[in-house]
């Protein structure tokens, strides 16, 4: 059982959506909480069981369950012995996750709990377990303050004190939290136009209450602005606090934090440094020169995040902290790092990004690719790409060097740098020619594209590249798609250039002279060539004719069909070519030849169709037929294979609707036929009644299904063209194995202006459990097209599965008695649910929810309720009002139903009948027999 739940937990974490299709979140949550409460479960297992709550708290406690969940977790925490410190730490993390994601009101208690843990003086002497939990508590507090800036402002003084006391990781936690809280508090002050030095002093001094009333509740957290970093490089404006010249206190705090920063791990040092950068940036009276003492140490480090935080420091303070000399030194340092032999390639690439975006004291432009002015070609030459670089490094470097040489401007034709980059390109091409891996090939084409993007004006190189690519294709026809992709991208990004056309022409040239092999690749290229109006197509036609003639004479079935198809694709492109009149005769010849002599019947037929179109339609009409509905080309998959006329196939295709069109809503069922009272003779005793009842089930179809009614209607916002729908067919797909598959439901027509039709869906359960159905609708519109559209998922709730017991009313009480006795005696499960309900509320509840299921008089002291769930499950209730609470005694023969019953009772008793403050008065107990 335990390991099963652990497995399901990990299943849930990896695929929450499909998991929740089969199990309800409530049920899963209650299972998890049950295990966590259970003393017999080992702490290691409990640690694993908390993972779902940590990773997906909003899925599990999304609809109002978080308050209860957090109370449960807090009670587990309080009962957890100190030696289980891993579990205690994990519980704190889980609580933080649940509370942050649900913004629950229990948060204040939790903050108190955490503050209690970090203040606990008893353990400073070194209990390892307590220490671990305290370190986690610091981190939880930090996360709470991050998610809800200002939450801990009023505890600043306490935090400052604890920071002095702590050591090791606890000290690190305290420092990070203190710096963050201070940063958030100062940010808050910057948002208040009246705030000044007084408030800042008050903040750091003893009396925080005069600073302002802080938000102390996760629910009332301010907007998202406070979450953003205030340091955004030279362009971002930083909110500032005007304090006048005197800011001794803050300066003192910042410099003491900087001095202690050395005690933190490099990652935390970087984070602290960034917080302090933000803080000093907001308070203009504090000079950034405070950081000066740290700079050398920071710039000498090989720790990437420390160096990065220094870079952000530079971005924030530019020349008020870094002189021109420092700046050049820093840039050189970055260049050293971006090619240092002892750093990993990922780190080096990151430094290249930093060089590209180096925040200069006097930037010239802020454009996307604004290189730092200081980066001269000579400095950048250390980053020249070579064939020994891995693909990503090569491309990153090529990008940077291209930008550097682009700056050289008009004389780039003569530039040695460009010549060198081109040399690299040819070296790569050479490797691709010698049979490179896919990886290298892709890198080569990307490098080509980058080069073209930057040096379109360097014609000598470009012409040469074009010829060499064409030669490359001749030797490696399998590169056809890479080349087509390159042409597409160049035309897309550089529409003014005719380089793409040039390459296609060169390819056409080499193809028609190539030996007659690799037709498939050649035809792919030629069909792309045929899209270009400016390229004469005579050579293509000549080539096609040769292909067709040789293919007609050979006889190899399947390949022949494929080849024929590929030829037809090119023909089809040529049929819509701008200069069709010049191609008319040779194209006609090819199609005619195929019609008469091609080995494959299918291909012959298609060639005949094209031939007919070519010879009978005018050019405009031909273009009209073949390009009509061009936007739908991608939606047709199989039809495209045949290069069919899209106009003809469009009507035969099922189209996807983009937006929602229809929805289903639950409807009240039509009044049931009055029950046959005539059979209502009073049975002799309980046993006979039960036997009579049970006998009915010998017929397997008895009560094996139940109907649900729905209305099918249009969504509120109309989509043009979908107001009148015909032949609507609804298809239902199951998401689990609880029900037999459902048959489709048809609606002849659905008009927006008419009242919506009511549909009855007959569900045949295997197990009567709530489920979700996927629904899709297939329908026709007035223009004769057929459309497919998924509808919102249909949820079958627990309430909907509850039915009156299928037995005459007069026998119901006896059946109830019989079943109750049986279930209580070990044949089922019993459970108790309690809640506070006033008499009036109870009566209203019974009227609203239990009336169809009652087997006893309402006026009696005990109210008995009998639910039947198809095919053979029962849920019996006995409502028993006590002095302080109403007891709902539950008995059932199907254990899986208990959590649903619990959830159901919780919902109906809390909705409108009880004030919500009594939530916590609920309690329930399960006793398992058997």
């Amino acid at each position: 059982m335990e390991s099963d739940l652990v497995q399901r937990s990990s299943l849930f974490c990896s695929r929450p959506s499909s998991f929740l299709c089969e199990t309800s979140a409530d049920l899963f949550l209650s299972e998890l909480l049950n295990e966590l409460r259970d003393d017999r479960v080992s702490p290691a297992v409990k640690v694993l069981l908390l993972t779902p709550l940590i990773e997906h708290p909003s899925l599990l406690c999304g609809c109002g369950g978080e308050g209860e969940t957090s109370l449960e977790l807090m009670s587990v925490f309080s009962q957890c012995p100190p030696k289980w410190f891993q579990l205690r730490s994990q519980l704190l993390v889980a609580l933080t996750s649940v509370l942050v994601c649900s913004s629950s009101r229990a948060s204040q208690d939790f903050v108190e709990l955490l503050l209690g843990v970090v203040q606990d003086p008893g353990d400073l002497s070194g209990d390892q377990g307590v220490y671990c939990v305290r370190v986690t508590a610091w981190e939880c507090l930090r996360e709470l303050e991050s998610c809800c800036p200002g939450l801990l402002t009023q505890h600043l003084e306490l935090l400052a004190g604890l920071r002095q006391r702590e050591s090791g990781r606890g000290h690190q936690g305290a420092v990070l939290l203190f710096a963050l809280t201070l940063r958030n508090a100062v940010y808050h002050l910057t948002q208040d136009p009246h705030a000044g030095a007084e408030n800042l002093r008050a903040l750091l001094g003893a009396n925080t209450s005069v600073a302002w009333e802080a938000d102390q509740d996760l629910r009332t957290c301010s907007g998202s602005d406070a979450l953003h970093s205030v340091v955004r490089g030279p362009m971002g404006s930083v909110p500032t606090l005007q304090t006048g010249p005197d800011c001794k206190e803050l300066r003192g705090v910042v410099s003491s934090l900087l001095e202690e920063s050395y005690l933190l791990t490099p990652l935390s040092q970087a984070a602290l440094l960034h917080r302090l950068t933000e803080l000093v940036a907001m308070v203009t009276a504090v000079s950034p020169a405070l950081f000066r003492a740290q700079l050398l140490r920071l710039m000498g480090t090989f720790e990437v995040s420390l160096l990065h935080s220094t870079l952000l420091l530079k971005a924030a303070f530019t020349d008020s902290l870094f002189s021109a000399e420092d700046e050049l030194f820093f840039l050189r340092r970055l260049l050293v790092l971006s090619q240092h032999p002892l750093l990993s390639s990922a780190h080096k690439l990151f430094y290249i990004h930093c060089v590209l975006r180096f925040p200069e004291n006097r930037p010239i432009s802020f454009s996307d690719d604004g290189l730092p002015v200081l980066l001269t070609p000579q400095l950048a030459s250390v980053l020249v790409p070579t064939v020994f670089n891995d693909g990503s490094t090569l491309l990153h470097r090529l990008h940077l060097l291209s930008l550097v040489h682009l700056e050289e401007g008009e004389d780039s034709e003569e530039s040695q740098g460009v010549a060198f980059l081109y040399q690299l390109l040819t070296a790569l091409l050479h490797m691709v020619e010698s049979g490179a891996t896919t990886d290298l090939t892709v890198t080569f084409f990307r490098a080509c594209f980058l080069f073209l993007l930057h040096f379109l004006s360097v014609e000598r190189c470009l012409a040469n590249l074009m010829q060499r690519l064409a030669q490359l294709y001749l030797r490696h026809a399998h590169l056809a798609q890479h080349l087509i992709n390159l042409v597409d991208r160049v035309q897309d990004r550089l529409p003014e250039s005719d380089w793409g056309i040039g390459l296609l022409t060169a390819l056409q040239e080499v193809i028609v002279q190539a030996p007659p092999t690799q037709f498939s690749s050649h035809l792919k290229v030629l069909s792309r060539v045929a899209e270009e109006e400016v390229i004469p197509q005579q050579k293509t036609l000549h080539f096609l004719f040769n292909v067709v003639r040789s293919a007609s004479s050979s006889a190899c079935g399947r390949d022949n069909w494929r080849l024929g198809n590929e030829v037809l694709v090119v023909c089809r492109r040529l049929l819509v070519h701008g200069h069709l009149d010049r191609l008319l005769v040779p194209l006609g010849d090819i199609l005619h030849h195929m019609t008469c002599h091609y080995g494959d019947t299918d291909i012959r037929d298609h060639a005949r169709l094209y031939h007919a179109l070519l010879t009978t339609l005018s050019r405009d009409k031909l273009a009209g037929v073949l390009t009509e509905g061009g936007t739908h080309v991608k939606k047709q998959t199989l039809c495209c294979l045949m290069a069919e006329s899209e106009g003809l196939t469009r009507a035969l295709t099922v189209h996807q609707v983009e937006g929602p069109v229809l929805r289903l809503t639950a409807a009240t069922p039509p009044p049931q036929e009055s029950e046959d009272q005539s059979e209502g003779e009073v049975a002799a005793d309980v046993l006979t009644a039960l036997q009579t009842y049970r006998a009915q089930f010998s017929d397997p179809s008895f009560s094996s299904s139940f109907p649900l009614t729905f209305r099918l209607l249009h969504v509120a916002t109309p989509t043009p063209g979908f107001d009148r729908l015909y032949s609507v067919r609804l298809h239902f797909r199951l998401t689990d194995r609880h029900y037999e598959s459902l048959s489709d439901v048809s609606v002849p027509c659905l008009f927006r202006e008419r009242p919506p039709p009511t549909l009855t869906l007959t569900l045949k359960p295997r197990h009567a459990l709530p489920t979700t159905l996927y629904v899709s609708a297939l329908f026709s519109t007035e223009d004769g097209l057929t459309w497919l559209r998924p509808l919102p998922d249909l949820h079958i709730t627990f309430r909907q599965t509850l039915l009156p017991v299928p037995v005459p009313p007069a026998l119901r009480l006896q059946v109830w008695e019989g079943l109750w006795e049986e279930f209580e005696g070990g044949g089922g499960m019993v459970s108790l649910f309690c809640c506070q309900l006033e008499e009036a509320c109870l009566q209203a509840l019974i009227q609203e929810h239990f009336l169809p299921f009652l087997v006893s008089e309402v006026s009696q002291q005990e109210v008995k309720v009998l639910h039947f769930l198809s095919p053979r499950s029962h849920v019996l209730l006995k409502l028993h009002p006590q002095e302080d609470a109403v007891h709902f005694h539950i008995a059932t023969d199907t254990a899986q139903l208990l959590p649903y019953v619990n959830a159901y009772l919780r919902t109906i008793t809390s909705r409108g009948h009880t004030p919500s403050s009594q939530d916590h008065a609920h309690s329930s107990q399960d006793h398992a027999h058997s």
Binding site: S14, V100, G168, H171, L227, H347
Partner: protein, 491 residues
């Protein structure tokens, strides 16, 4: 400074990819949602992320020569900084995803963008990106050890420890430290009392005899072309590794590197974050600008307070006037035979005492070797016909003349083709040298035992070592075209 999610994926060259571990940080996701507003893109489920990562890393469909999504030549973010196209239209982009590829593992994380998301901020403005790099690199060392090949069981057990390790170093998405290699230790409560605070990066205290070991390892790389028109290249870099077993919460240790009187300055010095202070002169010399002969040339002092585990104290590069071994390699094609000559010359400044010295002569893009008739003047020659490779083992010493030669003929008459390398077409070929020389450095840099200062009560034992090794030491055939490996000086 925070991550939204973390993934560890194993694969076999793109095949059988599975998510071995994943973690979503829900509180960070909550922040991401609030900060990104309408441009928020949710993190898809693991299986989707897995597929998208494989596509962006070029690993999906390894058998297909061209896949449009994978191989598009468009200028897009490249590894390790990726952008995942979550929906088919390409509008929903998950960015920035960091992914490190190491052997059979992909380690990926999704840093939080803590500045306004529109327009897309440069990577260099997001502190969480560099933190992600550090964290993933640490995770990689934790999972794979220092080598890149993990054994399956070792990896599985490391993955099993990961939840409890994360609980310590990154419980809520903000990395507090990198996972420490070695067996996971629960942090011990710091010793209380005393004025000094224990640093967060110190996981325990050493008790017992004080020992400081300092190891200096220099590596030399070279590209030699044997061609007047092309300049030979070589460079040297060194790293200093320390293991300090010294008592105290924050003990002070100083290591000093010194150079011989005429030595050229150490350049590009990078230091460990535990170094407490640095003199600005230490950092001045840099390889990206012209060397100034009057520059500071030591001694280089590094005061630090050591962590408990071994660590890399600093690293540097150096420009030495000559390569340790100068080679010449010539191939001539002669009627189905290849005429091979090679000469290696050890420079007089280098100690003639090797741990090992081997020259590998691979031949690519040819049929397998048939007859091999090759003589060497010193050392011994192994012929590996199935790999089309000659291995010339020079052993511990060069001959007295410090020069040795190889000469002979090879015919490639085998029926099957040997290994291939697109770089080595026609007569493009190389000799690759592997050697290690104990107790010497090319730069002349050394750590004198007496210069190591430890400020503690007990006198510590101090061990210093140094050695030189080769890496990527190529001698290209001078009769063929050799690939360019570095730019000529561009003015």
């Amino acid at each position: 400074m925070t991550f939204r999610a973390l993934w560890i994926i194993s694969h076999d060259k793109g095949r059988n990819a599975t998510t071995r571990f994943s973690r979503r940080f829900s509180t960070v996701e909550h922040r991401a949602k609030r900060m990104a507003g309408s441009s928020y893109v949710a993190v898809p489920e693991d299986s989707v992320v897995l597929q998208l990562l494989l596509i962006e890393l070029g690993l999906s469909d390894p058998d297909k020569p061209y896949v449009a999504l994978r191989d598009d030549c468009l200028n897009r973010p490249r590894p390790p900084f990726l952008e995942l196209r979550v929906d088919a239209s390409g509008k929903e982009l998950l960015w920035p995803v960091l992914a490190l590829l190491q052997g059979p593992l992909i380690l990926a994380c999704l840093p939080l963008v803590d500045v306004p998301p529109e327009p897309r901020p440069p990577l260099a403005t997001l502190l969480s990106v560099s933190q992600g790099l550090t964290f993933l690199a640490g995770l990689q060392t934790f999972l794979l050890g220092s080598g890149s090949k993990p054994d399956g069981e070792g990896l599985a057990s490391r993955l099993g420890m990961l939840p409890s390790v994360l609980l310590q170093v990154c419980p809520l998405g903000t990395p507090l430290d990198v996972p420490l290699p070695g067996p996971p230790a629960t942090p011990t409560a710091p010793a209380s009392g005393g004025i000094q605070k224990q640093p967060a990066w110190k996981t325990g205290l050493h008790r017992g005899r004080a020992t400081v070991s300092v190891a200096l390892l220099e590596t030399v790389r070279s590209m030699q072309y044997g061609n007047r028109s092309r300049q030979d290249l070589w460079d040297v870099y060194g790293r200093v590794t320390c293991k300090c077993e010294v008592e105290g919460v924050l003990p002070n240790v100083t290591v000093t590197l010194s150079l011989p009187p005429n030595g050229s300055p150490l350049q590009d010095i990078l230091v460990h974050p535990c170094v407490t202070s640095l003199d600005s002169s230490v950092l001045t010399a840099s390889s990206v600008e012209n060397c100034d002969s009057s520059a500071f040339s030591g001694p280089y002092k590094f005061p630090f307070s050591p962590p408990i585990e071994p660590f890399r104290l600093c690293c540097y590069t150096s420009q030495v006037p000559v390569p340790p071994i100068l080679g010449l390699y010539q191939l001539k094609e002669e009627e189905n035979q290849l005429h091979v000559t090679a000469t290696l010359k050890l420079h007089e400044s280098v100690k003639n005492s090797f741990d090992y010295c081997e020259a590998h002569l691979p031949f690519f893009n040819r049929n397998l070797m048939g007859g091999v008739d090759v003589k060497v003047s010193s050392g011994q020659l192994d012929v590996s016909k199935e790999k089309n490779r000659l291995v010339w083992t020079l052993g511990q010493k060069f001959p007295k003349s410090r020069e040795c030669t190889l000469e002979g003929r090879i015919s490639f008459t085998g029926q099957t083709s040997g290994p291939s390398d697109p770089l080595c077409a026609n007569l493009t070929a190389y000799i690759k040298l592997y050697f290690k020389v104990p107790d010497m450095t090319l730069s002349g840099c050394c750590v004198d035992q007496h210069s190591v200062q430890v400020y503690s009560s007990a006198k510590p034992r101090i061990v210093t070592t140094r050695e030189l090794q080769s890496k990527e030491y190529f001698i290209w055939n001078s009769t063929g075209s050799a690939p360019v490996s570095s730019a000529p000086m561009m003015m």
